[in-house]
């Protein structure tokens, strides 16, 4: 059974999502709003059901949610946001090498040379697969565009 605290937080988040969808859909024409305005209250009701169930299990254990636990994942998420932001400026190959190398080293992989080799190798192979073989127009560095 899931942690009651997690379920309670989840119910709050889902409730907020349902309310947000409902509130935004109120501004739409009747036909366009029909489906979402039926679904949002349903989601809200299910979220309340989940929340009540979680509260009924209160005191049955449940670890606190620690952000430090998710540090490496958050690091990679931030890296990917940065990757998407710079892709069209620094080009596919340079951005990809940086992404793979930073991911490996940032997570705690200690062999730097291997990390760099893997980064260069994988970026070139994936470029060959997508860019050359499948002819996907992958971005070039800004100065080459």
């Amino acid at each position: 059974m899931a942690n009651w605290k997690q379920d309670f937080v989840l119910s709050l988040v889902l409730g907020l999502i349902a309310i947000a969808f409902y509130a935004v859909a109120q501004n739409y024409p009747h036909d366009a709003a029909l489906f979402p305005t039926h679904l949002a209250p349903l989601l809200l009701a299910l979220a309340v059901w989940l929340g009540i169930g979680a509260l009924q299990r209160r005191g049955t254990g449940g670890e606190n949610i620690r952000l430090a636990h998710y540090k490496p994942v958050i690091f990679v998420v931030v890296l990917l946001v940065g990757y998407a932001a710079v892709l069209n400026y620094v080009g596919y190959i340079a951005a990809s090498i940086a992404l793979v190398a930073a991911s490996l080293l940032g997570i705690g992989y200690t062999r730097r040379k291997t990390a760099l080799s893997v980064a260069v190798g994988s970026a070139l192979v994936v470029y060959g697969l997508f860019g050359v073989l499948l002819e996907v127009p992958l971005p070039l560095p800004y100065f080459m565009q």
């Binding site: 989840l10 990917l80 793979v100 997570i107 499948l134």
Partner: protein
């Protein structure tokens, strides 16, 4: 009609054409097995390439890729818990636990055999019964499509076991997310916040890449950071061929999965996910005593036979009626038109050689896929397992990001994949199943359109869903599916009470 089958078979078996078909199958296996790549992306790139090819080469290549990519997706699903393609979403439920318990080879073998049988059965249907089946699917109207979507979602309830509430939440959330984009009825943009990226809804492929690819990588990273890497748990591949006893045990499930896949495949828009869920759900009902989700061979056989049966099934409406069954078969429409052919009833009359060449090529491609899949699947598996988990995670991040980018040639697609990667990761943490979210998001527009059009037709009366016999049957089956978890729970309670007494 049958007079064209033998000449077409001989044309497919011509050495040069056969070689192109085998190359297509190999390419399909590889792209299907690599997370982030799939048959749609590959065919989208290959279709323009076939412009300069003779028709037989072009269709042999495309058919080979389409057939094998669907099966290839099961390799990373079984070994890495990452579906290479959306068609393997359900395979990982039991395939991955089988691999973790040292039966990776057996899971791959069952997947191959089921895929080949499913593919052959649907190819035979395509060859012999295409016109009749297409006429049946053509009789579907808005109420039938609405009921079909209800039926598809009811299978989720049937699969939920003890997590009915969380499954329902995910379904409703998926339906709500499916309303993002232009309204199918009114053309009004909803929840798009003036971002053109979302006008046609959440892009499916980046969403799948994120939900299944990136979220799994995040899990791998978390484990590595906790010095809890699973490298020591890497299973041995082991024997791939199931024994005769197991083979005959699986046969009924494979046959039913193939039939479900073929029927769903010929219904335009119904899609592969619905077929695999229905096949899996049937297996669960057929064997209620088996602990599905923990590494049950039937849990691999059912979805794998269904998904490959969808492939040839989806070509029935395209070739017979000119209506593509799914996005990949829509690419075939482009390939046919590039070759100066017009898909539809006239195709079989005016260009029987090409039409029958394509349908026979599906049969041969599925037969070729068997030995190649067994040989290559094992090889791919070995290569995958020789890689360090953390290095593989970093490379998969790159593949996922590149795959998402290549869908729209825009970095914002990478962000969509990332968003759904985070959502998938958080869903995993909260015991929320991911697959029903995808099913609901795909069925949402069909359900909404069917619902609204039906009410327009009936002038607001809900009776329209019950007066159509096909719709009524589907709603009855959906009700039965929905009641399965309640029935199981009631049965458990009664058994517990009996034991207490």
């Amino acid at each position: 009609m049958d007079a064209h089958i033998l000449p077409s078979l001989l044309a497919v078996l011509t050495p040069d054409v056969f070689l192109v078909l085998v190359l297509g199958v190999l390419l399909g296996l590889v792209v299907g097995a690599i997370p982030g790549l799939n048959d749609t992306i590959t065919l989208a790139v290959l279709v323009p390439v076939t412009f300069s090819m003779p028709p037989n080469y072009a269709f042999a290549l495309l058919v080979g890729v389409y057939c094998a990519a669907c099966y290839g997706g099961s390799i990373p699903a079984i070994l890495l818990k990452i579906p290479g393609t959306a068609s393997s979403v359900v395979t990982l439920n039991d395939g991955y636990p089988m691999a973790m318990s040292g039966r990776a080879g057996l899971a791959l073998g069952i997947s191959t055999i089921s895929s080949v049988i499913g593919g052959i059965i649907s190819a035979l249907v395509l060859i012999f019964f295409a016109p009749k089946l297409a006429v049946y699917a053509l009789s579907f109207g808005p109420p039938e499509y609405f009921s079909l979507a209800i039926l598809g979602l009811s299978t989720v309830a049937g699969m939920s076991g003890k997590k009915v509430l969380k499954n329902l939440i995910v379904c409703v959330l998926g339906l709500l997310i499916s309303t993002i984009g232009v309204s199918p009825q009114t053309g009004f943009a909803r929840f798009t916040f003036d971002m053109p990226l979302f006008y046609e809804g959440i892009p499916l492929v980046p969403m799948l890449i994120g939900l299944f690819g990136l979220s799994s990588v995040f899990h791998m990273i978390e484990q590595f950071a906790q010095k809890n890497s699973q490298e020591h748990q890497i299973p041995t591949i082991g024997r791939t061929m199931p024994g005769m006893k197991l083979f005959f045990e699986l046969m009924p499930i494979i046959l039913v999965g193939s039939i479900i896949g073929t029927i769903i495949g010929i219904i335009p828009g119904a899609g592969m996910l619905m077929a695999i869920y229905m096949a899996y759900d049937f297996a669960r009902m057929r064997y209620p005593h088996l602990p599905f989700g923990t590494g049950v061979p039937q849990g691999v056989a059912a979805p794998e036979s269904a998904n490959n049966a969808v492939v040839a099934g989806s070509m029935v409406p395209l070739l017979a009626l000119g209506v593509p069954g799914n996005s990949t078969s829509a690419l075939f429409l482009g390939a046919l038109m590039i070759q100066g052919l017009r898909p539809g009833p006239a195709l079989f009359r005016e260009h029987p050689d090409t039409a029958f060449f394509i349908v026979v090529a599906f049969l041969v491609a599925n037969i070729v896929m068997g030995p190649l899949g067994l040989m290559l699947g094992r090889g791919i598996a070995k290569v995958i397992f020789k890689l360090s988990q953390i290095i593989m995670a970093a490379v998969i991040i790159l593949l996922c990001a590149t795959g998402a980018y290549s869908v729209g040639n825009d970095p914002s697609y990478v962000l969509v994949a990332l968003l759904f990667g985070v959502i998938g990761y958080l869903m995993n943490k909260n015991d929320l199943p991911q697959a029903p979210l995808v099913l609901a998001m795909i069925l949402g527009p069909m359900m909404e359109t069917g619902f609204e059009q039906s009410l327009v037709l009936s002038r607001g009366s809900y009776a329209i869903f019950f007066t159509s016999p096909i719709s009524l049957v589907m709603l009855i089956v959906a009700t039965i599916f929905s009641l399965v978890p309640l029935y199981s729970r009631l049965k458990e309670k009664l058994a517990a009470r009996k034991a207490a007494i």
